[in-house]
């Protein structure tokens, strides 16, 4: 099938339904305000009591403009997935709020809640680990169409599933196949088709390419870019591959132990990282060029990430920070905008903080 024909067909069918979005177009599509998610730690076999909390996400703030891709990076366990799920309302928030297309996610009920569920979707690392292996691709991709009563007629739904398959580059003749009959890259395409079925405007992509081989990663990344352009999608792109994040994102947020420590336009962030954690993280990314690799200076961080149950006082990064000062252990750094659009939480970034 020809590319532009598909585009035509799907643009009509999949264009965001602005009539149901109470956003005025100037507002950012997604607003996250002081969002927190703490998981209780329960002890005791008979009488369960809470002995503490994993502060997985501990107060994050950002906005995502319509059509934009925001990257979210950080070491495993820093709270990226939890942030993604909590901001979509899939986990109840411990504090703070999210607004998606004008809906207050944490307060939405009934029709509003269903509208959010339709318009905001998630793509996972391996979509099939959470899906029924006995379902055909038709059933998997068609489910959101059924649940959200988008297409009630079964034959029409099957037609729509075929269109979605074509859209993500899967041969519609495979519509009755089962998950295990597909390769990893094809499975991710099925996951993307399913996420697109309910005609979302916002997608949280949680490590969508981490399980894929290099040659397949590029296919999926290019597909996500094409879909974004064709359908006007907005992405939160969670990944630990910092090279890919630079490639696909417009802006990038760096997380450490449940908080965002730096956020900026991607080139600004990659070329002028301000936070010592961002600097260390970027310096650790291998470069596929031996001449560059030989001369790259690595900032090696000592030790492991501390536990999110009792995060360090003051600046959470001070225990591993190469430039930490005494006041870093006692004062929480302010989240400040040091140049337009470049935010950082560090006492030692100019203008320096002096207690």
């Amino acid at each position: 099938m020809k590319d532009d024909k598909i585009r035509d067909m799907n643009l009509k069918a999949l264009a965001p339904m602005s009539d149901i979005t109470p956003s005025n177009g100037h507002e950012p599509l997604v607003r996250v305000i002081d969002l927190k998610k703490h998981f209780p730690i329960r002890k005791g076999l008979i009488i369960r009591h809470t002995t503490g909390h994993v502060r997985a996400v501990d107060g994050i703030n950002f906005e995502i403009a319509r059509g934009e891709t925001l990257g979210m990076v950080g070491e495993s366990g820093c709270g990226k997935s939890t942030a993604g799920r909590t901001l979509l309302g899939l986990y109840p928030a411990t504090g703070g709020e999210t607004h998606i297309a004008g809906y207050h996610v944490q307060e939405a009920t009934g029709d509003e809640w269903m509208a959010i569920r339709r318009q905001a979707q998630m793509i996972f690392q391996d979509p099939f680990s959470s899906l029924n292996p006995r379902w055909t691709v038709n059933a998997i991709i068609g489910e959101p169409l059924r649940v959200h009563r988008i297409i009630e007629d079964e034959a029409a739904r099957t037609e729509r599933v075929k269109e979605l398959m074509a859209l993500v580059g899967l041969d519609p003749r495979f519509i009755n196949r089962f998950p295990h009959e597909f390769s990893g890259g094809q499975r991710q395409r099925v996951g993307i088709a399913r996420a697109l079925a309910s005609e979302p405007i916002f997608l949280v992509c949680d490590e969508p390419i981490s399980a894929l081989d290099v040659s397949i990663q590029a296919q999926v990344i290019n597909l996500l870019e094409d879909l974004q352009r064709q359908l006007g999608l907005t992405y939160l792109f969670i990944a630990h591959d910092l090279s890919m994040v630079r490639h696909i994102c417009d802006r990038v947020a760096v997380m450490y132990l449940g908080i965002i420590v730096e956020m900026a336009d991607k080139d600004d962030l990659y070329e002028k990282p301000q936070h010592p954690y961002t600097q260390a993280l970027l310096s650790a990314v291998p470069v596929p060029d031996p001449k560059v690799a030989r001369h790259r200076k690595r900032i090696v961080l000592e030790g492991d990430v501390p536990s999110p149950i009792n995060p360090p006082s003051g600046c959470r990064f001070h225990t591993r920070c190469p430039i930490a000062q005494p006041h870093c252990a006692t004062h929480v750094p302010e989240w400040r905008e040091i140049t337009p659009g470049h935010w950082v939480a560090c006492h030692e970034v100019e203008p320096k903080f002096r207690p």
Binding site: I216, N222, M244, V285, P290, D304
Partner: protein, 369 residues
């Protein structure tokens, strides 16, 4: 300089620095025409198909390729570590210090594995015994292989843990593997490997499951240890970034075959196999502004249940000619340090130009997978 405190007890002291003192006459391991298959209910899996290469003393080579292309099996099979059946070594030799590992009795092979060749795997949890303390696991092998007393073995184990950067090593000796983080467990693994001061360390994707920060620490640790101890290193990975910073020579595998072998600079500056070119063009760079869409390689790696008649990459390749489909290209030497298995790109008039001529059309939505 080899570290005197870690000199092999059974070895005469080595003379002079071994670093990069490669001498073709000191080939440490020489693999020739290795063929490995698995006889499964679905059919024969042709996992390793006629591969040959060598590694010199003290040399660092990387084996790269996508999952399932035979990287692990090619190493495990020469160490007697694949299950037989279903595994079967269908041909070849692997000469290590004058002996063919493939015909060595299991008891001798165990000695080689314990002392001369060490392996670190992706998941250290599977190679550490979960119910034994780190102390037990480390001192046991020291006592067994070196006839050390308890005290000597314990002192050496602590020394090794400190060497690999385990804080508070003495206290942590009594911990169990699960009490260490992923990165720390890899360090423990490396310490255990170093206990025997092997002449060859095989690291099979040791950092694949780790964060980049931890990966950088492990890569640095292994390179430092290697320089200090003068051992050779085979680093198996799918990450070309790690390869660029670590290896002297690179072997690219595809579908159980070697498709290209080159010194690290030639591989990145002047790749000649279309698969290598395509892989490089599919990688974004952390240190550069985005200039283009990624070049993606259509299709997916082949199923090894069918032995391809011609070049295994032909179905995904943009340069394919008829000959590629009917006749498997041998590794054709392009220079003293580069060999490429391709009928097209090894011809005199072929010229590689990065990106522009890599020709891998970006695949857009609407192309069927």
């Amino acid at each position: 300089m080899p570290d005197p405190t870690l000199a092999r007890p059974h070895d005469p002291p080595r003379d002079g620095p071994l670093r990069y003192a490669h001498d073709p006459s000191r080939l440490l391991l020489d693999i020739r025409n290795l063929e490995v298959r698995f006889n499964t209910p679905e059919g024969v899996v042709y996992a390793v198909n006629d591969i040959s290469y060598g590694i010199h003393e003290g040399e660092v080579i990387a084996i790269v390729g996508e999952s399932g292309c035979g990287k692990s099996v090619s190493m495990m099979s020469i160490l007697g570590l694949i299950p037989k059946p279903p595994g079967e070594i269908a041909g070849g030799t692997a000469t290590f210090m004058g002996r063919d590992l493939l015909t060595l009795p299991e008891s001798d092979l165990e000695q080689v594995r314990g002392i001369e060749i060490a392996m670190v795997f992706q998941d250290s949890m599977t190679s550490l015994n979960p119910v034994l303390t780190i102390s037990r696991q480390m001192t046991e092998s020291l006592r067994r292989h070196y006839n050390m007393t308890d005290e000597q073995a314990t002192a050496r184990a602590i020394e090794l843990l400190e060497l690999v950067g385990i804080p508070d090593a003495e206290r942590r000796m009594s911990d169990y593997p699960h009490q260490f983080s992923g990165g720390m467990r890899q360090r423990v693994m490396i310490a255990m490997m170093l206990a025997c001061n092997p002449s060859l360390l095989i690291a099979d994707e040791p950092t694949t499951a780790l964060d980049v920060t931890i990966q950088a620490q492990i890569v640095e640790l292994v390179s430092r240890m290697r320089e200090r101890l003068g051992m050779a290193l085979i680093w198996i990975t799918h990450d070309l970034g790690v390869v660029a910073g670590l290896a002297e020579r690179v072997i690219v595998m595809y579908a159980g075959m070697i498709v290209e072998e080159a010194d690290v600079d030639s591989l990145f500056d002047n790749p000649h196999h279309p698969y290598t070119m395509a892989l490089l063009a599919a990688l974004p760079r952390v240190d550069r502004r985005r200039d283009n869409r990624l070049n993606s390689i259509p299709g997916s790696p082949p199923n090894l249940l069918n032995k391809p008649r011609g070049c295994p990459f032909a179905p995904r390749c943009i340069y394919t000619i008829d000959r590629c489909r009917s006749e498997r290209p041998p590794l054709i030497p392009l220079s003293p340090t580069q060999r490429t298995a391709c009928w097209v790109t090894t011809s005199d008039d072929f010229k590689y130009e990065r990106r522009q001529d890599s020709g891998y059309e970006s695949q857009s939505a609407g192309t069927y997978e």
